[in-house]
Symmetry: C2
Subunit: 227 residues, 2 copies
């Protein structure tokens, strides 16, 4: 084990995803300072002295969206530490993914910087975001896509009570595929613990009233839904 201890700045960056206007969108902020001043970047900031990584992620989330972390599904994504990822200094960033329903206010957080939702499809180019944030975003999107397969996490993109069709739209948008409504309905209502009926119905999507569900207790889907 090496004993040297070179100075490294640790940051926490966020891939905040939501489904808006039938597209998967990510929260971006415009940078005010060099480097990359004026360019779009993922929200994030430095890890504070007495803060756990998850705490820092929650704090940044609050600062950028004005919403506490219980409005989100928040999980660690990965860390990125290329020695030259930040021209100013040696940094290592721990990225988190946050999934949210569309409810959160369009974009305005308590933080001063300009913030905006942008479709992830528009941010695919390597230079679409500052630093290595395009890579981080790609990894975050891939994580979200993968997790929809074997967890009930699609519900994190929905309001607390939602219809089967609304849930299906999440899958279609995040995966970019069309799904047969009848087979999907059979699958999700038949998977034990995925959905709990509330007893209520809604006509907000038009047509015949649809049953409302809350997400159930299971953490993994057996068998998984597949892309």
């Amino acid at each position: 084990m090496s004993t040297a201890r070179p100075p490294v700045a640790v940051t926490v960056d966020l891939v905040v995803l939501t489904v808006r206007d039938d597209r998967l969108q990510a929260l971006t902020v415009r940078r005010g300072e060099e480097p990359f001043a004026g360019e779009w970047a993922l929200p994030g900031g430095f890890l504070q002295p007495d803060e756990d990584l998850a705490t820092a992620a929650s704090r940044e989330l609050l600062e950028e969206t004005g919403l506490t972390s219980d409005h989100f599904h928040l999980e660690q994504l990965a860390s990125y530490g290329d020695p030259h990822r930040d021209p100013r200094m040696r940094t290592v960033t721990v990225a988190y993914v946050a999934l949210a329903a569309d409810l959160p206010t369009p974009t305005a957080g308590s933080d001063a910087a300009e913030a905006r939702w942008q479709p992830v499809a528009d941010l695919a180019a390597d230079d679409a975001l500052a630093f290595d944030h395009a890579t981080i975003l790609r990894d975050g999107v891939e994580r979200a896509r993968a997790k929809l397969e074997y967890t009930p996490l699609a519900a994190a993109f929905c309001p607390p009570e939602f219809t089967v069709t609304e849930l299906r739209r999440v899958y279609e948008v995040v995966w970019g595929v069309e799904i047969d409504p009848r087979n999907f309905h059979r699958k999700v209502t038949g998977t034990d613990g995925f959905l709990e009926p509330t007893g209520a119905t809604t006509t907000r999507d038009g047509g015949r009233p649809a049953r409302l569900y809350r997400v159930g207790a299971v953490r993994t889907l057996h068998p998984p839904l597949m892309r």
Copy 2:
């Protein structure tokens, strides 16, 4: 975004796993220094100034095992940054998981510290390892278990050429379950791209000669094997 930049030491720790004696085992090293002097810990060390995270992981792996990283499947696991995880100072550690066939020399690396393979079942207690390493090990083992389901990664625990039975033993040991040999055989030989027959056979496991396979090109199994 906060602009403060408190001093943090970044380390890289390794969960090195192998299947030995029909048990899943992890590489552990005995600590020479405080804190936790004399206790077992995961191998690891400080991130060096001009080193990427993956490079640091490879370097540590080489230092601890004497083997270059192409002997392993190496992937990032997660980062851990509880403010008090190291009593000496503020540290954030980026953990990697390395999977290896049993071939690597039992334990002796080029590094001076005493090193040993230990069954992961014996390291389950929170205080079985220094720092938060028991937690990291648990997460690493869980990662390995999960990846066997939907990737051909079980082959990383096997020599370059292996039999279906040897592969099955990996699944049985890592998952801690018994698997029907005939159904397993059907599944893995029928999954396109999982196994490539070498044309050769072996009798090293006794009985009728078994065909030898190399791992194929696919990176994910569709449909997955399930626990």
